[in-house]
Structure formats: C-alpha cells, structure tokens
C-alpha cells in the first residue's frame, strides 16, 4: 500500500484508478494508503455540479475541463450515475460526452455508481476526492446524479456548488425547493439559446433578491450554451471568484471542515456497518433478528439495542 500511495502522489494514472477501486470496494488495505495521502490533500478546488437529467451537466463539465486545461490546470472528473436498486448494476454514461479528453494526460475521468447511497453521490466520494486531490489535480469536478431536488449532499463535499437549470425543463423556478436554492454557489442557466431563458434568469434573480442580505455575497447567475462552449469562460471566472471569496472571508476552512466531518462520519458508518453486517459472527444474528421482527415477535428498536449491546461489550 505504501508503494501504491507513493505512486498516487506522483500522479500515476493506473495507481490512482486502482486505489479508487479499492476504496470503492471497501478493501481493508485501502485505508493504509488513504492514511498516507491525506496530508497531501487540500490543494484541489472541488466543484460539485448538480441539476436535473437533461440539463447538460456532462457537456458543461466537458467544456469546463477544456477551459481549465487551456489555463494549464489539471482536472479530475467524477461522473456519478444511479445504481439500480433491483439489480445492483449501473449504466455509467457520463464519460461519453467527455471522450475527447480521454487521451489528455492532464485529465482523469472516473465513472461511478451510487451503489445504494442516497443524495446523488456515492459513499466513496470523499475518498475519491482525496485521491484525485493528492494525485495533483488542480480542479476536481463532480457530476452528481441528476434527480434534481434531493441532492443537497453535494454541498457537504464541494468547495463550490453549481446548480444547473434549463429554461422550460423540469419545474419552473418558483417550484424549485428551498434546499436547492440555498446550496448553489453559482447558478448556471444552460441551453440558454432556448426560448424562455430571459424569463428563467429573471425569476432566479428575483428569488435571489428575496433571500439576499446586504453585505453578503450574492449568488451569480451565468448563462451558458454548453454544447457551443458559450458562457464557459465566464462561468470559470465565477467559480474562481467564489474560491477567492471563500479564502478572503476565511470561509474555506469552514467549508472544508464540513467535508472532513462528513467524511469522518461516513468512514465510521461504513466501518460499523461492515463490522455488523459482514462479520460472520453477527451476520446470522442479524438474519435471525429480522425474521423475528417480520413475525412481530420483536420490534426493530429492541433488535437494534441487542446488536449494539453485543457490539459494545
């Protein structure tokens, strides 16, 4: 693992890919490598991109990556697609839009399934961000699953969160739930060559008017036509501005702290679950409890108490 970690730090593509697989599969060994690389993280600007399906996130991310490459920056991209709750499989198609970057050594693209996690991300996302960060990427772009309303998890892991909307697609601006409004650090109105764009922007601006507090940063709204590359340099500027704002106002540390907290909780949760459900000793016990709960011979709370007592003993 030491060797793997040191190769990751050097930016070796194969090693980065391998370590991501190991953490995703919850391999015992991965922890050793992760321990080594942690202190080499913190450099990458993590940008979360969320928005409904069809909003053009993949194309937008592709264009952002190209833009960053022109600036000489290296980019890591994580595309997340839903894992089927029935089959456990997933069709990971985000990279299709980005394949022209496949052979650019300054870009690393990884496609991941949610594997049961809710909130539009995957449980391994924190690990993957750390790995890409430690491997030297200047920017890490994370494309969440586009379910639209439930992806507030993205704010836990991103420095800058983009919310992508499309005029006429999905709910009108008014109907967007409060949560989404709050998490956006930058609003992107994509496919801005469609009818209704001015209205969409106006509605957004008026909602922002309502929640704006004097002296605080006002969330910018950027119009883009991703498939033509229009508006992308402006968007990059706004993203960079946001990072500068975080640094100047000493807010970056606070943000990152939230991420590390979420990461710690996630690792603890994972380990606990693994211990309880994978450990052979307890597995039979769990099944037995579930049977009894099903037959109403026991309730779930008592069952949980039994397991926890047993574990903490």
């Amino acid at each position: 693992m030491r060797e793997l970690a040191s190769k990751v730090l050097k930016g070796d593509t194969r090693s980065v890919a391998r370590l991501i697989t190991l953490v995703e599969n919850n391999s015992r060994n991965a922890a050793n490598a992760m321990k080594i690389i942690h202190k080499h993280t913190g450099n990458a600007h993590v940008v979360g991109v969320t928005g409904v399906m069809g909003s053009g996130k993949s194309t937008l991310i592709y264009e952002l990556a190209r833009g960053y490459r022109k600036q000489g920056k290296t980019v890591g991209i994580v595309g997340i697609d839903p894992t089927s709750p029935f089959t456990g499989g997933a069709l990971l198609g985000d990279r299709i839009r980005m394949q022209e970057l496949a052979c650019d050594s300054g870009v690393f693209i990884r496609s991941m399934g949610t594997r049961g996690a809710l909130g539009g991300l995957t449980g391994a996302i924190f690990d993957v961000i750390e790995i890409l960060d430690a491997s030297g990427k200047d920017v890490v772009l994370v494309e969440t699953v586009g379910v639209g309303q439930g992806e507030v998890d993205v704010v836990k892991m991103a420095d800058t969160t983009l919310v992508v909307l499309v005029p006429g697609l999905g709910d009108s601006i008014q109907a967007i739930k409060a949560g989404i409004m709050e998490i956006a650090d930058v609003f992107v109105v994509n496919k801005a060559d469609r009818p209704g764009v001015d209205r969409a922007v106006a509605e957004l601006e008026s909602m922002l008017d309502l929640k704006h507090v004097e002296g605080e940063r006002r969330t910018p709204v950027v119009k883009t036509v991703a498939r033509k590359g229009e508006g992308v340099s402006e968007l990059i500027q706004k993203i960079d501005n946001h990072m500068n704002y975080l640094k100047e106002q000493n807010l970056l540390e606070l943000r990152r702290r939230k991420r590390y907290e979420a990461e710690l909780v996630e690792i603890i949760r994972r380990e606990l679950m693994s211990y309880i459900f994978d450990e052979k000793r307890l597995k039979g016990k769990i099944d037995d409890l579930v049977d009894r709960i099903s037959m109403k011979k026991m309730d779930p709370y008592t069952g949980a108490e039994e397991v926890l007592e047993r574990m903490l003993r």
Partner: protein, 558 residues
C-alpha cells in the same frame, strides 16, 4: 362495406361459431399460445371476417391501383407491367474489384446497380485518413475521388442503367462525382437515373453515419432536391429509409411511423425554403425493410402507400405523381443467422415474397452469408436467383395486389395505419422530428424494442431456428469473401498520385469557393461539382464543409 342485414347475419353466425365450434374445439385442443401477436405486438385473432372490415368503404379506403388512395398500388398495372428492379446492394475493396462484381451481377440478370461504400467514405474521409485505419474496403467500396468513380463504373453505360448509392453525410459530394463521371462518359445529366439515399434524419436515429448537425445537413439535402428537379430530373434525390431503423431494432409500426415522419419533415423543410411541392415530390423515394412477419410486412407496405398519399395531399400536392409512394425494399439482414447459413436462403425467400406482394418497385435480397461476411459470388447469385424465381415461376405477379380483400390483411393494414397516427401525434407533441431526435425519443423507442426482442430470444419466447431451437453442433463452414488487404495500399498510392498530378491551384480555388458559398445560402451543388471535377478528394471537400457546418454529437440512449 357490406349490407347491414347481411352483416348482422354474419355476426350472428360468427358468434355461434365462436361459442360452439371454436370454444368446444379449444377445450380438447388448446391453442399453442395464450396470445398470438404480430412482431410489432399487435394482437391477432383466430379468424377475421367481413365484420372486421365492415367499417371500410371500398372506393374511399381501398380503391384501385394507380388512383387515390393508392392502397392497392401506385400504378394501374404494377408488376404486370414492369417487374420490380432487381438491385443488389454491393461493394467492397477497391473500385476495380467492385466494378468486377457489378459486371458479374449484371451478367446474371440484375437490372439496377446499388453501391455500398466503406466506412471512411460514408463519413467523408479519404482512405489515407487516420480514422480510416483498418476500415478500407471492409463493408463497401472506397471512393475517395472522381478517379475512383470512373473506375467503379468502367464499362457500364450510365444512360442505360440506374444506380442507387447508399450514402448520406457526404451524399451531395458522391452524387457530384457520379454526375461528373457520367458527363465524362458523354452522358448529359438530364439523362442519368438513380438514387442517392441522402436521408440524414434516419442517420441520427439509427444508422449513425452522420457528419454535420441537422440544420446544415437539411440545407444540403434541399440543395440536392432543388438541383435535381432543375438539372437531373430522372434522379431520386432521396431515399427516405426505414430499413436501418428496423435493423436497429424497431417494430414494423415504428419503422413505418418514423420513416413517414422523416419524409414529411423533408417535404416541409423544402417547402419552407420556397420549393413547390409538385416540383420535387415526384422524385422522393423510400426504402423499407422486409422482415419475418409475412402478413404484417405486406400490410405495412400497403399502409405506407395510403398514408403517404393522404399526407402529401394534405400538404397541397396536386400532381398524382407527387402522391406516389415509390419504394425499394431490402430483406431483413438482422434476421439472418450465422448458424446453418443455408436456412437464410429460405428466410430471404419469404421476406422477398412479402415485399413483392406488398408492391415494391425495387428489391435487394440478402445473401446467406450475411451474418458472417460480405456476399460471396455464389451466395449473391442464389439471392439474385431467388428474385428471378419469384418473378418468373411463382405467378404471384399475375394480378395486382392479390391479397387485397383478405379480411386479415385489410384489417391489419388499417390497424397499422391507426398505430402510425398515434406515433405522429406523439412526435408532434414533442415538437416535430428534429426536436424529438434531440430528446432521444426515437432512439429510446428503438433501444426498448431491441432489448425486448433480445430478452424474448434469450428466454426462448421467440424461436430462431438453428439458433435457439433445432440447433446443430457443426462448425459453420461455407466459403466466405475476404477483402484483399493489398487494396488499401493500392488506394493510398492512387491518392498520392492524384494529389501530385492534379492542378492543385484549381483545387484550392474550388474549395475556397465552396467554403464561401457554404457560409452563405446559395445552392452548393455547382460548387461541389467544381471541386470534384478538379479532382479534389472526398475528404478535402468534406473537410471544408466540416469547417463551416461543424460536426454532430449524438445524445446517448440505451
């Protein structure tokens, strides 16, 4: 269509039959399946009677061949007057090799030529382009310049034979080469006949050999309509296709609906440009698949004629010729198997027969080695003979639309038409064909049907003889065609020589003029003709257009 009293008598009798004979019989001998459907999924009853077509009016809905509604045929005599063109899709390797195959086929009785191009050509790349690596001549002939076109048709009198060319993205350029070659042979362009497929909408939907985005592609297509109607009047400037949509996995209903919707989109686009419908409509042609469900295919072809005539009339067409649905058919490649390839001869026969009974104007029959390689000489000969036997020996061509009046066929024709209009409505709701393509509508429908079909085969709900039933444990051993590897080098050498020996100043001038014209809105055909006549290559010409029009990126739908 029937007398009220007579009909109610039949109804009563049928109900009695159902209760007594049919249900009684079922008790002792259950039917083989719970549900019988066409391949499209339409439910099929045990029996069709006059009741099922009583709602039809013979004169209005069925009528006579050569007149509205054109259901029974576009000409009064159909195959009694002229047997369909036997046109075998063909091409591989160098122009010399394909020319040889063309002579072979003509010698053995084919009556029209059909050109298959290789992938680099289909995408507008010359043989020496990096993307062409490994692809030269493998699934069609490589044509990189007018020189290749000259060799391809060497010894073939272009005023005596018509040629269909399966080319889409770079269709205008290839067509220009054909025209230029004919002129070199001394044949003026108003004497040549043929077809260019030139149907970009179905490329986005199914065949995927697109180059430019929809808007400039449509512009180019309408340029060809305009140019053709003025200067090349015997040429079909488009072959609006359903074949590929079907091969990609759609049902017969989808094939019909999507093809006709595409067709109407082209017509409307041309009219928007200012062309008069009766000026270009007579030269629109179609291309359908002929698949396994014998009667459904026949119903499909008939419904196609009736729907097209109606819709074109609604758009304002006045000339009868503008209402004619003229089509070429190809038997379904995707139904042919690698296992026990001789069985494919039988499949193709049935599919070809359906096309003939459906009233096709032109027919390609696949060879038995379809699933393994390009057709060998022996295999393609059998495929051609299949058509000739149907034409000469079976007597099905003795009368027009022999299945007209069959209760099942008339009912099925009507039913398919109904389903097609449902699709028309959905497409309209999505904003039309191009918005629907961008939303992935057709691609999703097709992918669903394709997946469903595969599941049915895998689960043995659908039998493929020799593959999941009646299998043989024998190695597949029929001689297959191999494309000569040397051809690629010959072609690359030829290209190098061409670029050296031509007047490069002239080429550059022509390409620059094309670029400028492409940026504006003039008809591009004259400019493209100048380029090809100067021996600009296919790749060079298409690169100019790529520069101006951009390249298309498709949405991904599973």
């Amino acid at each position: 269509m029937f007398d009220e009293k007579e009909l109610s008598g039949i109804k009563k009798a049928r109900e009695e039959w159902e209760e007594k004979s049919y249900k009684e019989y079922l008790k002792k001998h259950p039917e083989r399946k719970k549900r019988f459907t066409t391949l499209s999924g339409l439910d099929v009853k045990a029996l069709y009677t006059p009741e099922d077509i009583a709602h039809l009016d013979y004169l209005k809905d069925i009528g006579f061949p050569g007149m509205e509604p054109f259901l029974r045929g576009i000409h009064a005599t159909m195959h009694r007057g002229r047997i369909w063109t036997m046109r075998m899709f063909s091409g591989f390797g160098t122009a010399e090799e394909t020319n040889k195959r063309y002579h072979y086929l003509l010698e053995h009785g084919e009556t029209g030529l059909s050109v298959a191009f290789d992938y680099p050509t289909l995408y507008g790349y010359d043989t020496d382009h990096p993307f062409a690596r490994g692809e030269f001549g493998k699934c069609g002939v490589a044509v990189s310049s007018l020189k290749d076109m000259e060799i391809l048709f060497d010894g073939i009198p272009l005023d005596k034979i018509t040629t269909s060319m399966t080319i889409n993205g770079p269709a205008a350029v290839i067509w220009a080469m054909y025209i230029a070659n004919a002129e070199r042979q001394g044949i003026p362009k108003d004497k040549i006949g043929g077809t260019i497929q030139n149907d970009i909408l179905k490329e986005y939907i199914a065949q995927k050999s697109f180059i430019f985005p929809p808007e400039p592609s449509l512009r180019l297509i309408i340029d060809t309509f305009e140019y053709g109607s003025k200067y090349v009047p015997k040429w079909n400037t488009i072959s609006i296709s359903g074949y590929h949509i079907r091969e990609a996995g759609s049902t017969a209903v989808q094939e019909l609906a999507f093809t006709l919707a595409d067709g109407l989109t082209y017509v409307k686009a041309a009219m928007e440009r200012g062309l008069k419908i009766d000026d270009f409509a007579p030269r629109l042609s179609f291309f359908f698949n002929s698949h396994n469900d014998f009667f459904e295919e026949i119903a499909k072809f008939r419904a196609a004629r009736r729907i097209w005539a109606r819709e074109m009339k609604n758009l304002g067409a006045k000339k009868p010729r503008s209402l004619w649905m003229r089509f070429h058919t190809q038997t379904a490649g995707c139904t042919l198997t690698a296992q026990q390839p001789e069985n494919n001869i039988v499949r193709v026969t049935l599919q070809a027969l359906a096309a003939v009974l459906g009233g096709t104007q032109s027919l390609h029959t696949n060879s038995m080695d379809e699933a393994l390689a390009l057709p060998s000489e022996k295999a393609v000969l059998i495929a051609l003979r299949t058509q000739q036997i149907i034409a000469e020996e079976s007597n099905v061509t003795n009368t027009v639309d022999p299945l007209g009046g069959s209760y099942y066929i008339e009912w099925l024709t009507d039913k398919m038409e109904e389903e097609v209009y449902k699709y028309f409505d959905r497409i309209e709701q999505l904003g039309g064909v191009i918005p629907a393509i961008e939303k992935g509508f057709f691609q999703r429908e097709i992918a669903e049907s394709a997946y469903r079909y595969q599941r049915e085969v895998d689960e043995m709900k659908r039998v493929v003889v020799g593959v999941n039933k009646y299998q043989l444990d024998e190695p597949i051993s029929i001689p297959i065609l191999k494309v000569d590897e040397k051809g690629e080098r010959i072609q690359i050498e030829r290209l190098k020589k061409l670029r050296r020996e031509r007047d490069n100043a002239k080429v550059e001038k022509a390409l620059n003029a094309l670029r400028k014209a492409a940026e504006g809105d003039e008809n591009l055909m004259p400019y493209i003709l100048d380029c090809v006549k100067a021996y600009a290559t296919l790749g060079e010409t298409c690169d100019v257009l790529r520069e101006v029009f951009g390249e298309y990126k498709e949405p991904i739908i599973y």
